[in-house]
């Protein structure tokens, strides 16, 4: 038996390798670099790595789009148009998200627990706080997570898909538990996420096993090929596909696998919420689109009722429950669920336009999401006590946002822009996104879905605009005793992120053409 070394395309895996490598180096930095230089080193490393990865992705663009992509490691790593486009999106959004991680604001603290391993309320924690101990493990963790995401969108077999899913999930479980304030809530969210995530992974793995049982292969292309030839085992095939998709539905927060979303989004440190709301969803949708479009077409009729059910449920539940939320982060969590539904509508177009529209929607959604959560990080509670006014954690109750537009018109304006984009108001990117997704779906014959989508979008306008009304047209609440609300000044990172996201949102709303055209090139999956 001869052994042929698998072909390794170094250039093609370079972005992934750089990101994962930076994560490893980051761990070493955490261990060996003197405390004072640690944060700076991490930041320089992370941003350099992300920019390098982005440049490498851009450099490959033309060749990949022309050749249709390359299949590496015996078909386990498929770097085709959609994979590269989503990787690019992920890296760009990660640059923004990690910049929000890095912001220490005028308070001088970032959003993360200085000694995450300490038991909340313990003597050790207090000691660490007094000594000014500060760990920066968030950066390597984010890199590992991003590595998993870059891998999952290019995963050509179910094993790689599963490994990538775990690789992106584990760091997120940890990141969720790192909040500086309300640590118990944060850790609870982390544990919930871990337990439910494991459950979903198990379902996915079970689905993979069934598919292997059906086709004798883990490779997506070979499973697809087997669907037409093997008769009598449809139960295995359809059961396997359903369970596989459920694992991915969990990651995108589709109903009824969404229950973790609100709790985790609220518990996690807000910068992490922004990061995971944008990137995880994009990565999981990347994997889902590949599974559905590579294996799915021949099963379209069998899977459609299930996919339609999930899409409709997701749009309706996300929108309806968001209506009654009183917490900004929770409202945005439900809104992100509803958006997962809108993206699913695009997936169900079963056409190349559908793929392009999904890619575009994800960019648009990611920009507004990171921007919106970045704004949330700056609005803080205060308590006036004996030692003056102390700035505490984020003021997330809606009532605390009343009158914000008058005090911080720019910040409130940016948030309003993101909300309008979520709502899909024309001249924001969200409108262009919804328009392309719905058009593609209607062309693909999913008209009832589009009708539900449009109604849900209309209903969603209510809770988005309610926040805008609250910020601009509702008088500020009287200061009740010692509690108050203030807006802290960003140390620069967050301001830049908000500005970039806002400009992007307007630009893609006014001139969506160029990006749509670019993404229109990236719609061919390798089998």
């Amino acid at each position: 038996m001869s052994y042929a070394a698998p072909h390794i395309g170094w250039l093609q895996i370079a972005p992934l390798a750089i990101v994962l490598g930076t994560g490893l180096v980051g761990v070493l930095v955490e261990a060996f670099v003197p405390r004072r230089a640690r944060r700076t080193t991490q930041l320089v490393l992370v941003f350099a790595a992300l920019v390098a990865a982005l440049l490498l992705i851009v450099a490959q663009w033309r060749d990949t789009m022309a050749s249709g992509g390359v299949s590496l490691f015996g078909g386990s790593y498929l770097l085709d148009g959609p994979a590269l486009a989503i990787q690019g999106t992920l890296v760009v959004l990660s640059i923004l998200a990690v910049a929000v991680f890095a912001d220490r604001t005028s308070v001088g603290q970032d959003a993360f627990a200085p000694a995450a391993a300490a038991v909340p309320g313990s003597d050790y924690e207090e000691l660490a706080r007094r000594k000014g101990l500060e760990q920066t493990e968030v950066y390597p963790l984010a890199m590992f997570g991003l590595g998993g995401m870059l891998l999952i969108v290019a995963a050509g077999d179910l094993l790689t898909l599963f490994v990538a899913l775990e690789a992106l999930s584990m760091p997120l479980y940890v990141l969720t538990g790192l909040a500086r304030r309300r640590r118990l809530l944060s850790q609870e969210a982390s544990l919930k996420y871990l337990l439910l995530g494991s459950f979903a992974s198990a379902l996915l793995l079970f689905g993979a096993a069934l598919l292997y049982g059906f086709s004798g292969s883990l490779h997506l292309g070979e499973i697809a090929a087997a669907t037409g030839t093997i008769a009598g085992l449809e139960g295995l095939l359809l059961g396997g596909m359903t369970l596989l998709l459920i694992g991915l539905f969990f990651k995108v927060g589709a109903v009824p696998f969404h229950a973790w979303t609100p709790d985790v989004y609220v518990g996690a440190p807000t910068p992490v919420t922004g990061f995971m709301a944008a990137t995880t969803k994009i990565a999981a949708f990347g994997a889902m689109v590949r599974v559905v479009y590579v294996v799915g077409p021949s099963l379209q009729w069998d899977l459609e009722p299930m996919l339609w059910t999930v899409a409709i449920l997701t749009m309706v539940v996300g929108t309806v429950v968001a209506l009654v939320q009183t917490d900004v982060k929770r409202m945005l969590a439900y809104s992100s669920i509803a958006h997962a539904g809108f993206v699913l509508v695009g997936v169900l177009a079963f056409s190349t336009e559908g793929i392009a529209s999904v890619l575009f929607y994800l960019v648009v959604y990611g920009l507004a999401t990171i921007g919106a959560f970045a704004v949330v990080t700056l609005v803080r509670q205060t308590r006036t006590g004996a030692e003056g006014t102390v700035i505490l954690g984020e003021a997330t109750h809606l009532a605390q946002w009343a009158g914000l537009g008058r005090r911080s018109p720019w910040l409130a304006g940016a948030l309003s822009l993101f909300l309008l984009s979520f709502a899909g108001i024309p001249l924001t990117a969200g409108f262009a996104g919804k328009f392309t997704v719905f058009t593609a779906a209607a062309d693909g014959g999913a008209v009832p879905l589009v009708v539900v989508g449009v109604i849900a979008s209309a209903a969603a306008v209510f809770f988005y605009v309610r926040l805008i009304v609250l910020m601009y047209f509702t008088p500020e609440r009287e200061e009740e005793g010692e509690e108050g609300v203030t807006v802290v000044t960003s140390s620069g990172f967050t301001t830049v992120v908000i500005a970039v996201a806002a400009i992007g949102t307007v630009l893609l709303g006014v001139l969506p053409g160029p990006l749509l055209e670019l993404l229109g090139q990236a719609v061919k999956f390798l089998p």
Binding site: L195, L238, T242, P256, A259, W260, D302, M306, T309, V320
Partner: protein
């Protein structure tokens, strides 16, 4: 015969210059014309109070820069052979949705360049004037931001190569006009005036939208080249609908009957605004639109006749109102309305009138802007008094204002050899041109413009004499404010002087050898000389007699005899004219009243039926939401159970639907 005339009428457009690509750096950078003032406006608005100290000069510089760029483009166009004087500059692909692809581009041709020069030259002068006029206003910077915004929008309007881009500019000038009329919006009536102007304009804008929809429905494109190219294959009724819709738009923007009511109230804005926007440039956009859309009107004789009728009515309407107004700015506004009526009428006459419509528009831009600035100067010296019955004898105190205003006055009433004579006389001649098959038109419209000329001479002389001559009727200390009229600072008088020079010489200079009409030929076509129904010397002589008569009557009543300080009761016509011939009352009775009733009924229906349904649905939704929310109880075990149940349900769905 009729077939023959139709071809003859269309002939001028058959050999219209085909647009060519830009040549030379200045033509290619035509977008700077719009971009420079726009960026300046953005800077002034965004920089806020920080730019208070230098903001007004930035505004002046931006306007002047546009003028310089415009002049360079003009020179480059003059150097090109006549056949290559229509240049299209492609900017970018703007909208691409379904069948509609629209490229944003600019059209540089004699017509648009004429407007560019008028807007930027007069605009720059008025910017300079405003530096002094608005000196005491704390919001001077904001004022300049709006002025720049206006210049940018107006240039976009005239440079656009498609109706859509034109509409952008159209709305832009509307916005700037609204902002500037209501610039002192702390006074409720000024804010109301701004709103009135805006709403009256919206009615007109609807016309433009309808015209665009009709064009898109029939032609499938909205750029000038395609639309005008397709006119030949359009049936007459479509062309008529488009023409009438465009006329509605023009009526709104140019304050023509029946949408003229806003212009008088628009005088609430600071005087430089009245000079720039509500006299020289924006209000003439309607005339521009009609002349630009000439091929459509050539194919729609009925729409063309409607243009002439509207022009004729407005010209008399404005002139009658102008005779009775005692507010100097409102009298000037009525005059503007009437003069634009002249232009509109000329534009409706077809190829014989287009060039003269634009010619009168240019000369009017100079003398009317000059007189508005003069009025501003008078107000400046008289503590913002606008009642002409409390002026009188100002000639001795404000020499420069008197002289410059006087030259404008001579120009507008059409005394040779001042500018207005050359442009208005041509319109009168054109109105007397015979129309095949409808001889009555030449006589009717000819007489209207003749009478209009006489009325113009009367009300403008009345205004001039009441303000600068006769005895002083100033308010006294006993009445609250003693007047000490004085000449305005140099920054204000210089622009007036420059405009006065234009009022004197521009008309004559541009008439030498028909240079202006020849220049416009690539756009409006060439017309063979024809003879009016009356010999030209007769027309000219009767015009002059009527003008002199009007001026003499005004002199006898307002300079030679005593002018009462409080307006006498007057005849029924005078009382009607003072109230704009009951325009507001008519609008109230015909439109506002029923409109308000309709709104009230709709609001009632909305509250009871629509809101009821909406609120009901909302209640049910919130009820459901509260219940679903209960599922979100925070327990991992129930979440996991939900997931499991969901998984089971989905598996069942997949397997069941398969059967």
């Amino acid at each position: 015969m009729s077939v023959h005339t139709l071809t003859a009428a269309r002939l001028p457009f058959a050999d219209l210059a085909v647009p060519v690509a830009p040549s030379g750096p200045w033509q290619e950078s035509a977008w700077l014309l719009v971009a420079v003032p726009l960026v300046s406006a953005a800077v002034l608005l965004l920089a806020g109070r920080r730019s208070d100290r230098w903001g007004h000069w930035l505004g002046v510089a931006a306007s002047a820069a546009s003028f310089v760029i415009g002049a360079l483009i003009l020179v480059s166009l003059l150097q090109a052979p006549v056949g290559e004087r229509v240049v299209e500059v492609d900017l970018f692909d703007w909208i691409s949705a379904g069948q509609l692809t629209l490229a944003a581009g600019l059209r540089l041709d004699p017509l648009s360049l004429t407007f560019v020069m008028l807007v930027t030259f007069v605009g720059s002068l008025i910017h300079v004037y405003s530096v002094a006029y608005m000196d005491a206003d704390v919001d001077r910077r904001r004022f300049f931001a709006y002025l720049n915004l206006f210049v940018a929008a107006m240039l976009l309007l005239v440079l656009a190569d498609s109706f859509v881009l034109l509409f952008m500019g159209w709305e832009g000038v509307g916005l700037a006009s609204y902002l500037l009329i209501g610039f002192w919006n702390h006074r409720t009536e000024y804010a109301v005036a701004a709103k009135k102007a805006f709403i009256a304009n919206r009615v007109g804008d609807l016309g433009l939208l309808i015209a665009m929809m009709a064009m898109f429905a029939t032609v499938g494109a909205l750029d000038f080249t395609s639309v005008f190219g397709a006119v030949g294959s359009m049936d007459t009724s479509t062309a008529t609908i488009i023409g009438l819709a465009l006329l509605l738009a023009a009526c709104g923007k140019s304050a023509q009957f029946p949408l003229q009511s806003w212009l008088g109230d628009a005088m609430a804005g600071p005087t430089p605004v009245s000079a720039l926007i509500h006299a020289a440039t924006m209000v003439t956009a309607g005339v521009y639109l009609v002349v630009r859309s000439a091929p459509i009107y050539e194919a729609a004789p009925d729409a063309q006749l409607a243009v002439v009728v509207v022009g004729a009515i407005t010209l008399l309407f404005g002139a009658i109102v102008g005779c009775a107004k005692d507010d100097i700015k409102k009298a000037l506004a009525a005059s503007t309305m009437s003069q634009i009526g002249y232009m509109m009428l000329a534009a409706g006459l077809g190829p014989v009138g287009y060039a003269f419509a634009i010619f009168h528009l240019v000369t009017h831009g100079f003398f009317k802007a000059g007189m508005f600035l003069g009025a501003g100067s008078v107000m400046h010296g008289m503590n913002d008094q606008v009642d002409m019955r409390r002026f009188g004898g100002l000639a001795r105190y404000m020499k420069i204002t008197w002289v410059t205003f006087g030259l404008g006055w001579l120009a507008i009433i059409g005394v040779p050899p001042f500018s207005g004579f050359f442009s208005k006389d041509k319109i009168i001649e054109a109105a007397f041109m015979p129309v095949a098959g409808a001889e009555w038109r030449a006589w009717l419209f000819g007489s209207v413009v003749l009478i209009g000329a006489g009325l113009t001479a009367f009300y403008m002389s009345r205004l001039f004499f009441m303000t600068f001559h006769g005895e002083k009727r100033w308010t006294t200390a006993a009445e609250g404010a003693e007047q000490h009229p004085h000449e305005s600072p140099r920054l204000m008088t210089w622009p007036m002087v420059v405009l006065a020079v234009g009022s004197v010489a521009l008309g004559g200079l541009l008439s030498i050898g028909g240079v202006f009409t020849t220049w416009l030929e690539p756009v409006v076509g060439h017309t063979e000389h024809a003879d009016p129904v009356l010999p030209i010397p007769v027309i000219m002589a009767s015009t002059l007699v009527l003008v002199l008569l009007g001026a003499f009557l005004a002199w006898r009543q307002y300079a030679a005899s005593t002018v009462p300080q409080v307006a006498p009761a007057g005849s029924a016509l005078t009382r009607a004219a003072r109230r704009d011939l009951y325009q507001d009352e008519v609008n109230d009775a015909v439109l506002v009243g029923p409109g308000a009733y309709l709104t009230r009924s709709l609001v009632y229906g909305d509250r009871q039926v629509v809101d009821g349904a909406v609120v009901g649905v909302a209640h049910v939704t919130v009820g459901i939401a509260e219940r679903v929310r209960k599922l979100q109880n925070g327990y991992v075990r129930s979440y996991a159970a939900t997931m499991l149940a969901g998984a089971v349900v989905l598996l069942v769905v997949v397997l069941v639907t398969r059967i």
